[in-house]
């Protein structure tokens, strides 16, 4: 909230608003992929906040809901490609969870672009940058998240 001179509260000024994306990246592939994007000096939007997790299978759907509740405008989860999981099948189990979660959230009226899932390997720095660009662009088009946010 921004305090104006007259003391009135206004919503976040659309002009200054930048989307905030929380990204859960798996330690073995996607985090390394993001690292590669960095060392290769590939430019991508700075709107993401990375949280490193051991595996995409570690990501509990509650993490994503909590992120949205605490003011994230979008959430991205990225793991190893199927077959490449460090723990053999963590991402395959996660895939089922995420497929259902995405359907459920959309059914409940949350824009599907706010919660996104993808696979990025350790050698795909370019792909990581492209994904982030796409996610940020889509969330920017939606505007600030106001649905699950807890108003204190």
């Amino acid at each position: 909230m921004i305090q104006t001179q007259s003391g009135q509260e206004t919503g976040p000024a659309k002009r200054d608003w930048e989307p905030k994306i929380v990204a859960f990246l798996c330690n073995w592939c996607s985090y390394a992929g993001a690292d590669l994007a960095g060392v290769s000096r590939i430019q991508y939007p700075h709107n993401i906040r990375v949280i490193r997790v051991p595996c995409s299978g570690r990501v509990n759907p509650v993490f994503l809901l909590r992120a949205l509740q605490n003011g994230a405008d979008g959430v991205l989860v990225s793991g190893c490609h199927p077959g490449d999981c460090h723990y053999i099948s963590g991402n395959l189990v996660a895939r089922r969870k995420f497929a259902l979660l995405k359907e459920l959230l959309q059914y409940a009226g949350i824009e599907p672009e706010r919660v996104q899932f993808t696979w990025v390997s350790a050698s795909e720095g370019g792909r990581f940058a492209a994904i982030v660009e796409k996610v940020v662009e889509e969330v920017r088009r939606l505007g600030p998240n106001d649905k699950l946010v807890k108003k204190l």
Binding site: V62, L65, L92, R96, A99, L100, Y107, F117
Partner: protein, 339 residues
Amino acid sequence: MSASHEIETRLRETAEKLLREKRVDLFLGYEKASLPFRTTPLFLTSPEEVKRLAWNPFCTTNLAVYLPRLFKPPADAREAKTAPPPPTVGLVLKGCDTRSVVALIQERRVPREKLMLVGVACPGMVDWRKAERALREHEPLGAGEDAQGNIHVVVEDGTELTLRREEIVADACLECRSPTPSIHDALLGTPVEGKDPEAARQQTAAFEAKPLSARWAHLQETFSRCIRCNACRQACPVCSCCKECLLDQTRPRWVGAGTDISDVTIYHLVRAFHMAGRCTDCGACARACPMGIDTRLLARKVNQEVEDLYGYRPGEALDAKPPLADFAADDSQDFLTEP
């Protein structure tokens, strides 16, 4: 004589035999309650008491909810030494309750060999809220079933009214696909055909046809009534699954405990998600809700999605693996973001 009266007689005989021959230590059934349209759960341990057992169109409670507590594993080695051996339990099961028991057996929370399942083919149970609504200003004093399966009610001035059964059975019963227990040790009553799943799908489709914002607004309006009493979770036979429920954890507190609309929404979303591949659609949550929230709105969608994506229907087969405990190399991944 009504069909349920016949079943009641046979049920008492079966329970008496099981208890007298000591094939079960405990028999779970229903007893007439003090209010019309209601029954109360009954825990029987001696054959002399079987006349308290009742079977009528108001036996709504899903008795499977008591099973995990009866077979609770010992907390530690010391408790394991002193704990009495698990009981053998007989219980009355409708189609939906059977599905819940199957889900519990699959998750190894209840041992099949300790159960004596007395299945009853269920023609649909009365939702007392619907029945009282149908009576309008009348005060019911007593209710029973007539030979056609309809419900006759005696009201305050002594007159008798008849309510058509289809109009007052619970919503879950109207969508029930397997009202006759598939797994049982004894079966009472004439098998009942399952309902066409198309009706439930149409309801989901109708909700989905609304725009995103209207769906959100509808849920917010619904959830704003929620008082977070957790009755839906407690009434659910397959929920309360974890050693410590995520919703009860305080460090960290994942979901706020109050009635903040954001916390309430997350509570319901998490509950719907946790029931994916496990919800047997018995309607216990909707029945338990004191605020009349349609908890099945989200559950129904998740169930259909599980069936469409993974070809799985909860509680139908003992040897099936729950979909979220499993995976396949070729699972659909159309939902992924591609650059």
